[in-house]
Amino acid sequence: MGSEVPDEGRVPVAGDSPHRAIVAAVRDADGSLHVEELADRLVRRDTILVETAEYEDEFDRAKLELHHNHLPKLADAGLVEYDSEANVVTDGTPSASAVDWEGARDIPALVTELRSAVEPDADEIGILEGREAVIEYGRRLADEAEEELFCMYVDTDLLEEECLRRARNAIDRGVDMCMGSGNPAVRELTREELPEATIWEPQLDWLNRPTYPRVGRLVIADRRQVMLAVLEEPTDDGAYPAETAVVGEGEDNPLVVLVRELLGARLDHLDYQSTDFRSELST
């Protein structure tokens, strides 16, 4: 990072770990923090300290860098406020860049790592809140699929009549439809409603987690658009459980790359697997 030169008025935050860690530590402290306290937290977080002398060196250096470089820089960007005379740092007022950063915060660390490996214009990742928004986006993907629609649903509750109709339309357009579920009811419903669809049973742990929050639905259109929705634990009042989805578009989008990686060969060897699976069903 030594030679990193920020653009005018912009501070690299999401990809720049010291800045990101600093802003996170200040936010976690809710309120204000003395530079020495902040330096102590950052050093303890980053290093497994064996010797006191090593800690003192790191602490001393962190303090210097915070006061003379990082904090005034982050203050310029509006991400923190820094009183350089009292050496007190407080959470900044939200700015456009801070809001962007907040969005990035919820994405799994793996996605952040992938960010650096892809084209900058292909790394937009969106967050959808609530069942309605998730359903709407899922329908859009079904409508936009040209060759392949790959789905995974954990429950028939999530497969509304309208979703099935859109899937039907896609199949009629010549789109290859795959439906996966660990839930026999979903597979049964798909067999009845969408007989042309390839049905698969996920073997992957991350798709079969019995505890909440868990992956509720996954929709991949043409291997270049992804929606991964996570369900919170259902409440007793019969309302739909809270649902949040991460969405990404584009072949090099980090979320799309991540999901393709996680599914791995499954996407390509599905036909082979489903033949097995089907013959098992027919016996």
């Binding site: 990072m1 030594g2 030679s3 030169v5 303090k63 860098e65 003379h68 470089n69 005034p72 350089s84």
Partner: protein, 105 residues
């Protein structure tokens, strides 16, 4: 951090009792920006947190970017700034600090 700072005798007029200049050798791996702060802190006997942030004068990353470069053309580079009431001259190897006084300016 005064162990490798050599105070010299070129005291400015009017500052007889105290050293007014110092040469600080930059350690291997020590960013030049950090050396500047430590040199000033040492000469003025001021804790690093009580100095004005170096960022207000020059972006430390820019300073480190220029002087930390391995490019042969940078060997002779010298950067001079006014910081912490001192005139500070930085090269790849050392920081020379001189307290600024009306006479000296």
């Amino acid at each position: 951090m005064t162990d490798h700072a050599d105070r010299d005798d070129r005291s400015a007029p009017g500052l007889s009792a105290r050293e007014s200049a110092l040469t600080y050798r930059i350690d291997d791996g020590e960013p030049p920006s950090e050396a500047v702060v430590r040199a000033i802190a040492s000469l003025t006997n001021t804790p690093v947190l009580d100095l004005e942030p170096l960022y207000e004068v020059v972006d430390p990353n820019h300073l480190d970017g220029v002087l930390g470069s391995d490019a042969p053309g940078v060997e002779e580079a010298t950067v001079t700034i006014a910081f912490g009431g001192c005139r500070v001259t930085v090269t790849r190897d050392e920081v020379r600090v001189q307290v600024r006084t009306p006479e000296a300016d």
